[in-house]
């Protein structure tokens, strides 16, 4: 039995304020926590909880112009990091305490090789140069299971995938065997199978180096999987701290209870059957005559190059995808980045060039979009992933929601105003907010605005592309409820594109699992989630972190497997897998 060790990092009563136009505003109120050697403390909370800013403060990385620590201590090895002069801090950072960030795509310097970025850490902290530094850097890349580690030293960040870059970040942070490692949402930007690899890698390395790990995350599944102890924070206040089993089995505070309750849990819908959102009498008909029929949908993009700017390579984004969508049904397209799910959604709205057949109520959409694109668009609308980027910041939200009506010349200006007010009420916003601008709304409210805009033209089908992925769980749950309500009221059909298996299970009637541009499994939710028949579907389901600390997963394959690229040579002939019916309506690639 390991003896209970002394805390290596002891954060005491840290308060932080940010500078605003109206003076200082406190964002962190007296956070107190510690981490022991070899232990994992998870700090869990939603956006704006203060979980990241506290860690930046501990590292001395707060932007001085915008935030200041107003009180508290962070003791590492008997020294207070918050009072440390910059020179001493430079020596401690990366050496005794290291940090990994959320965004692997932007966290490495684009103009320096991987090797150079690893070696400089050794040069400054360990006085190591030349061959010795190279050898150590290589050793570390191998320790994080980087494929072809030697070659990577000479490569630049843009030549590596997101998962590989995060491996580099982990290698870099562990080069000097720090006592404490702070990981700020290290897997949030990664695909779920890569996330699973990364989490088990971090666990293993932590054991090897006996590092104290502070893992900051919003994902309770990750918490359950990784934590020894958990600290729940909300709006700059500490909510609850305790042993991971206690937090999950007997949360004391209402906020923690909500957080756990709102969490989409894989398997929570087991044994239930969801009916189409159309009157019972029409259900049979709806099943027999689908609203939307997609057959052999193929989308390819050429990559241009050479003297004559001719195609040199081709992205096989979507390859012979076929599915039906019924009235009042939610069909989910799931898969990892690059699997073609978003492109499929775009093809439905004619936003990319596509081949194959798409029929809306028996009519070819190619013809519809050619003859009367406006009319076609009234039938199918889209909600995007990023509610911040998809609203024009210089238009009032009322104008944004009403714009489709203006473009399609529907109603008089007074009628339009009334309709917009109606839509606002429908999505749970107050109509007197119509004159405000997007920046005055939170992420969840903005997504409601996007939904209202999509509803403005009374579409039959809405394509929701990762529409809740950027939202906090409590907000996500509300938006999902709203989508469900709207479906029941208006009989809408959704194409719900997502990478999140737990969310998908909650909302959909049927699921199509996509891999490398093709559907590998499609069927009713019950069939796919309870009897997954394709290996890839099983891998996806197994990779989802389970928000229950008592279930420890089997070790995930550590091979450093990457998601293959859909870019091929021009003469590439895709291999089509035949779909075989394993039970009624449940098709699997063989």
């Amino acid at each position: 039995m390991q003896q209970k060790s002394q805390p290596i990092l002891d954060v005491q009563n840290v308060s932080i304020s940010v500078k605003t136009d109206g003076g200082l505003k406190q964002v962190v109120n007296q956070f107190t926590y510690h981490v022991n050697a070899g232990e994992t403390l998870c700090i869990a909370g939603e956006s704006g909880s203060g979980k990241s800013i506290t860690s930046l403060a501990t590292m001395g990385l707060l932007p001085k112009s915008s935030a200041i620590v107003t009180a508290g201590k962070a003791i590492l090895d008997g020294e207070d990091l918050l009072q440390m002069p910059e020179k001493r801090l430079e020596h401690v950072r990366g050496n005794d305490i290291a940090m990994i960030f959320q965004e692997p795509m932007t966290s490495l310097n684009p103009v320096m090789t991987i090797g150079a970025q690893l070696r400089e850490v050794l040069r400054f902290h360990k006085d190591m140069d030349g061959r010795a530094a190279d050898a150590r850097a290589l050793e570390m890349l191998e320790a994080v299971r980087m494929s072809e580690a030697k070659k990577r030293l000479e490569q630049y960040p843009h030549e590596l995938s997101g998962g590989m870059r995060q491996r580099v970040m982990i290698a870099m942070s562990l080069l000097c065997s720090p006592k404490v490692l702070i990981a700020d949402e290290p897997t949030t930007a990664l695909d779920v199978t890569i996330q699973a690899q990364m989490l088990s890698l971090m666990k293993e390395l932590q054991r090897e180096f006996n590092t104290g790990l502070i893992l900051i995350t919003h994902d309770m599944g990750v918490v359950a999987e990784m934590a020894d102890r958990v600290l729940v924070v909300n709006r700059g206040e500490m909510v609850e701290e305790g042993d991971v089993n206690t937090i999950f089995s007997a949360p004391k505070q209402p906020y923690t209870q909500d957080l756990l309750a709102d969490l989409p849990k894989l398997g929570s819908m087991q044994g239930t059957v969801k009916e189409l959102a159309v009157p019972e009498a029409d259900r049979q008909l709806a099943k027999e005559r689908p609203l939307l029929k997609v057959k052999d949908l193929t989308v390819r993009f050429d990559i241009i190059g050479g003297v004559l700017r001719r195609p040199v390579k081709r992205v096989h984004a979507v390859e012979k995808v076929s599915f039906d969508l019924r009235a009042g049904e939610t069909l989910s397209l799931v898969g990892e980045s690059g699997c073609g799910k978003s492109t499929t959604g775009r093809a439905l709205l004619n936003l990319v060039d596509w081949k194959g057949e798409i029929e809306l109520e028996g009519e070819s959409t190619r013809k519809l979009f050619k003859q009367d694109p406006m009319a076609a668009r009234r039938q199918i609308q889209m909600i995007f992933q990023d509610p911040y980027a998809s609203l024009n910041p210089r238009m009032s939200v009322g104008d944004l929601v009403g714009e489709p009506l203006v473009i399609h010349q529907i109603g008089t200006s007074a009628e339009r105003k009334e309709r917009v007010a109606d839509l606002f009420k429908r999505v749970g916003l107050s109509p007197d907010q119509m004159d405000r601008y997007p920046h005055e709304f939170s992420g969840g409210q903005r997504q409601r605005i996007c939904i209202a805009r999509a509803l403005a033209l009374n579409p039959k089908i809405i394509v929701a592309d990762e529409s809740v992925s950027a939202l906090d769980v409590t907000v996500q749950a509300q938006v999902l409820d709203l989508l469900q309500e709207l479906q029941e009221e208006m009989g809408l059909s959704y194409i719900f594109i997502s990478h999140d298996m737990a969310v998908v299970e909650q909302v959909c009637h049927r699921v199509a699992v996509m891999y490398m541009g093709q559907i590998v499994e499609i069927g009713s939710r019950e069939a796919v989630f309870e009897n997954p028949a394709h290996d890839y579907t099983r891998a996806l389901l197994e990779a989802v972190p389970i928000p229950d600390p008592t279930i420890k997963r089997e070790r995930i394959l550590m091979s450093g497997g990457e998601i293959p690229s859909p870019v091929h040579r021009l003469d590439y002939q895709p291999i089509y897998a035949d779909l075989k019916e394993v039970s009624a309506g449940h098709l699997v690639a063989v």
Partner: protein
């Protein structure tokens, strides 16, 4: 890479063809009569007509252009109307002086602009930053002939540190290079400042700091190369500005380059020279941009030449 260069050279040739066409049209439309110009005021109508015949000015427009183009491809820019010598020889004799001035000016503005920009960015929002930005603002807005005359007055007339004009020694080049470089210094310092401030907020700078890199290394090794990227693209464009700048600067300082040649030619409507200088300038701009684009991938490995 080779494919890229070849494609760019073909593009360059097309651009130059376009430039030659446009200048030819413009000069065709100029109301001055070159034959009268050459013959002089006292010449008889018959002499003027003979000269006109000789130069082919009576031919239809497209035929004149065609002849011009064919000569051009053989390296023949035509003969100056007034100086009675080959335009290509005149330009060749003066090009080195202009190139020297341009290189000196590029060095001036790069060194000064980058230095000022970096200092201003590091000392952001201090009086030093504000002072430097006022200076760069003046640099951007002051007309070159004013700057030139001012520099001449202060450093050549009053302080007598540098010669008033002419060509030959290092001292001769200082004031013209400064005058020509002042505009670029202003631009570069402002660009460098905002670019560096922007780069300093990037995630990878936070990573570098989290690794414990000292401040100087964060700025000079991690931030500067990234902040420098927009500047490189700018150098190519800059050569275009220089081409108009040297006409003024060379005239103010009596610098014997193609700018001065062009200025004299414009005053006397010496069309072959004007056209020759324009084409050479266009060549320089096109080549300058090509060189800047070719350098870019060495600084930024993400850029692939396609």
């Amino acid at each position: 890479m080779y494919a890229y260069v070849i494609r760019r050279l073909v593009e360059a040739a097309l651009i130059l063809l376009g430039v030659s066409f446009i200048t030819f049209i413009l000069l065709y439309l100029v109301p001055a009569d070159p034959a009268r110009q050459i013959a002089g005021r006292s010449a008889t109508a018959q002499t003027v007509e003979n000269i006109r015949e000789q130069l082919g000015l009576n031919l239809p427009f497209y035929e004149q252009y065609w002849r011009y183009l064919v000569n051009l491809l053989q390296g023949d820019f035509g003969r100056s109307y007034l100086q009675k010598s080959e335009v290509s020889e005149l330009i060749a004799a003066r090009l080195p002086a202009s190139l020297l001035l341009m290189v000196a000016a590029i060095c001036t503005e790069l060194v000064m602009g980058v230095m000022i920009g970096v200092i201003a960015a590091i000392k952001r929002d201090t009086p030093l930053d504000k002072g430097l930005m006022v200076f760069s603002f003046v640099g951007v807005s002051a007309p070159q002939f004013v700057v030139g005359i001012l520099l001449l007055y202060v450093f050549a007339v009053q302080l007598q540190w540098f010669p008033i004009g002419g060509y030959g020694t290092f001292a001769h080049i200082v004031l013209p290079a400064l005058t020509l470089g002042v505009l670029g210094t202003g631009w570069y310092s402002r660009m460098m400042r905002s670019s560096l401030i922007d780069v300093m907020t990037q995630d990878y700078i936070r990573t570098a700091r989290a690794k414990g890199m000292p401040r100087y290394r964060v700025i000079f090794r991690h931030a500067l190369p990234n902040a420098f990227l927009p500047i490189i693209a700018m150098i190519g464009i800059d050569i275009g500005f220089f081409m108009s700048g040297i006409v003024v600067v060379e005239s103010v300082f009596g610098w014997p380059g193609i700018g001065q040649l062009a200025w004299q030619a414009i005053q006397r409507v010496d069309i072959p020279i004007i056209m020759g200088v324009t084409l050479v300038s266009a060549c320089a701009i096109v080549l300058g941009n090509l060189v800047a684009d070719l350098i870019a991938p060495f600084v930024d490995p993400r850029i692939k030449l396609k």
